[in-house]
């Protein structure tokens, strides 16, 4: 064994141990590595630190928004209000700041409003027993419409709010910033912290285990003392808060309030969950898988841009890739095995 192999050995062992515990990581991991190799070979400057940094930055927005979608998927729901909440939080924050609110208070207000909206979606979908996808779509329409009416009524700029975000927020999402001397923007560090907290929450807390139990079988979960209703409400509240947080962070990134800033996230959070390998039917998966999904989507996008594909071309490839990955490892059982 030469020196290089020896240096690789611990990494290899960790990967093997991780895969032994979560075999579902394998397909996504293979895909990610394959894409990285393709990227390194075909795209000039793919391995540059500048490119890696910008990929991490883009991934952090998607990653934070996708945490909520992961929770929803784990309880067998889908949250379509995420893009609308991102856009609404984005314009509302700038509008609050323009009204003279301090940044801390404005952000707290936006996140609290989002929590209320999540609570509303969850309550309605529970009360009328309709798939959360439709309810969150309706709530999303209302939220983004109201946000725009409130923020731009009487102004000539339909849907856009102009203002200056606080310097630290811009700093946080700027590619030039560093975190404690490490050359990545603070938002990436925030994503890392949230990821660790989020995975711990799901794996180690009673509430987190309850989410899995409920997604697997709500009746059984109720019998063993999981409050199915509370779990459902909290999951959608968290999803709304994480979406709003993404919208807040995007204010720093884009430097103003643009209501359409959420649009690219209409289906990408679901795509990240699915490509990662979590089931949309509940009970199976986790945020670790979604992280992998986010990484795959971000690397794929960079590779496709590097290969000269236009955004629509990328969308086409993404559609095909979701089908291919899901066909590999997220097929459902035949009716005869469910009788």
């Amino acid at each position: 064994m030469n020196a290089q192999q020896q240096a690789d050995a611990p990494l290899l062992i960790t990967t093997r141990a991780l895969l032994a515990r979560s075999p579902k990581l394998l397909p996504g991991l293979v895909l990610l590595i394959a894409l990285m190799i393709i990227g390194a070979v075909t795209v000039d400057g793919f391995t540059n630190s500048a490119n890696v940094k910008s990929m991490l930055l883009l991934a952090s927005f998607l990653g934070i928004a996708a945490y909520g979608q992961t929770l929803c998927a784990l309880v067998g729901g889908i949250d379509l209000s995420i893009p609308f909440l991102i856009g609404a939080a984005n314009v509302l924050l700038v509008w609050f700041l323009g009204k003279g609110l301090s940044p801390g208070l404005a952000i707290a207000a936006v996140l609290a409003l989002a929590a209320l909206i999540g609570l509303l979606s969850a309550t309605i979908s529970k009360a009328v027993r309709v798939h959360s996808l439709i309810v969150t779509l309706g709530v999303g329409f209302v939220v983004i419409g109201v946000a725009q009416i409130v923020t731009t009524a009487g102004s000539e700029f339909a849907g856009n709010v102009y203002g200056t975000p606080p310097a630290w927020l811009t700093e946080m999402t700027s590619l030039r910033s560093t975190t404690l001397g490490i050359g990545v923007p603070p938002v990436v560090a925030l994503w890392l912290v949230l990821s660790i907290a989020g995975i711990t929450f799901l794996r180690m807390t009673t509430f987190g285990r309850g989410i899995y139990a409920m997604g697997g079988n709500p009746v059984a979960a109720e019998r063993v003392g999981v409050s199915v209703n509370t779990t459902w409400l909290v999951v959608f509240m968290l999803s709304a808060v994480f979406a709003a947080l993404t919208g807040v962070l995007l204010v720093g990134f884009s430097g103003g309030g643009v209501v359409s800033v959420g649009e690219p996230y209409l289906f990408t959070t679901i795509a990240a969950v699915v490509v990662g390998g979590s089931s949309l039917l509940g009970g199976q998966g986790g945020y670790g898988l979604t992280l992998l999904g986010v990484a795959v989507l971000t690397v794929l996008q960079t590779v496709l841009v590097g290969l000269g594909l236009s955004p629509p071309g990328q969308e086409t490839v993404l559609g095909l890739m979701i089908i291919a990955t899901v066909a590999l490892y997220a097929r459902e059982p035949h009716p005869r095995s469910r009788i």
């Binding site: 798939h131 209302v142 955004p311 969308e315 089908i323």
Partner: protein
């Protein structure tokens, strides 16, 4: 009660899922008559019919997929219409193929083929319908933009643009939609459709009683694709140009109309009547709102109204269901 009255009552109860949409329609027609009576002139009706046709057909296209169950949400219906619209313009009309036969045949065949692919992915490969139609959404909205060329477009053939006009004083778009609805009647009465509802309601029971679940379910996606093809023709006739980016909007409106019409995404219940009424409701809400002067906010007001009506319809539907259940329990 007289026997024929009983029959009328039973027929009506077969459509009880669509009561909310019907009640809303009556209210909205009154509002429209008060706020914007121009709707009921022959010109107003012609415009309304041509705008409504792609909406109604999109909602219809999403219906069999929803009935087929397992959370069948046809997210791809809008992008399918947008893609076929662009494909008709770039691949056929710009190349001089402007006849009725090639254009209609292409729209129907391509729509059905896409539906078949989605259907097979759902029923044979057994992927979650949401994932399949989500991928279809991304694939087609991307492809529509890829094949769209920003060059000069050849003139639209007369027959296609005249679908938005009138025939013998009646809006042609209304005739097309009525014809499609009539064509649906024998389908809705067929054994196939009964099996489809059974599969959507509970595919394990269907399988255990010897129904070919995979074939029946795939058929729903083919029907959806065919209807999507017709919707694309009416969309092209309305727009008279290639517009690759209208898909998302049609998907969202089609799903709103579907749910307003009382079709459940859980599968097995609901039907075309509700979707048609739901789509007309959505249009009338936008029409009524447009009579108010909201200026630059009008688009946002529309969004709030669409979302609000969808939520209210869901609540009303739930109240109706629980009242029904109580009545049955006491009877």
């Amino acid at each position: 009660m007289k026997p024929n009255l009983v029959r009328v009552r039973q027929t009506l109860l077969g459509y009880d899922y669509a009561f909310t949409a019907f009640g809303l329609l009556v209210v909205l027609l009154l509002v429209a008559a008060l706020r914007g009576p121009k709707l009921f002139t022959s010109e107003g009706l012609t415009i309304a019919a041509s705008v409504l046709a792609p909406l109604v057909l999109a909602a219809m296209a999403a219906t069999p997929v929803a009935i087929s169950g397992r959370g069948g949400v046809d997210l791809s219906v809008g992008p399918l219409m947008a893609f076929l619209n662009v494909a008709i313009v770039t691949w056929l009309i710009n190349e001089g193929l402007t006849g009725v036969v090639p254009v209609v045949a292409f729209a129907l065949a391509a729509g059905a083929l896409f539906g078949l692919i989605q259907g097979l992915l759902v029923s044979l490969v057994r992927l979650q319908p949401v994932v399949v139609t989500l991928s279809g959404f991304l694939f087609l909205s991307g492809l529509a933009n890829v094949i769209h060329t920003n060059g000069s477009e050849a003139t639209f053939p007369n027959w296609l643009s005249s679908l938005s006009g009138t025939t013998a004083g009646i809006p042609t778009a209304a005739i097309v939609v009525a014809a499609i609805c009539l064509a649906w009647v024998p389908v809705a009465r067929s054994t196939y459709y009964r099996n489809l509802r059974l599969v959507g309601f509970d595919d394990r029971t269907a399988y255990a009683s010897g129904v070919n679940v995979a074939l029946i379910r795939a058929g729903a996606y083919v029907l959806g694709g065919l209807l999507g093809g017709v919707a694309a023709l009416m969309l092209s006739s309305l727009l008279i140009s290639a517009s690759p980016n209208v898909g998302t909007n049609y998907t969202l409106i089609a799903l709103t109309a579907l749910v307003l019409g009382g079709t459940s995404l859980a599968g097995g219940s609901g039907g075309m009547v509700g979707s048609v009424l739901g789509a007309i409701d959505v249009y009338l809400i936008q029409y009524a709102l447009a009579t108010f002067q909201f200026g630059k906010s009008s688009e946002f007001v529309n969004q709030v109204a669409n979302g609000g009506v969808l939520l209210i319809a869901l609540l009303l539907g739930a109240v109706a269901v629980s009242l029904n259940a109580r009545r049955r329990a006491t009877a």
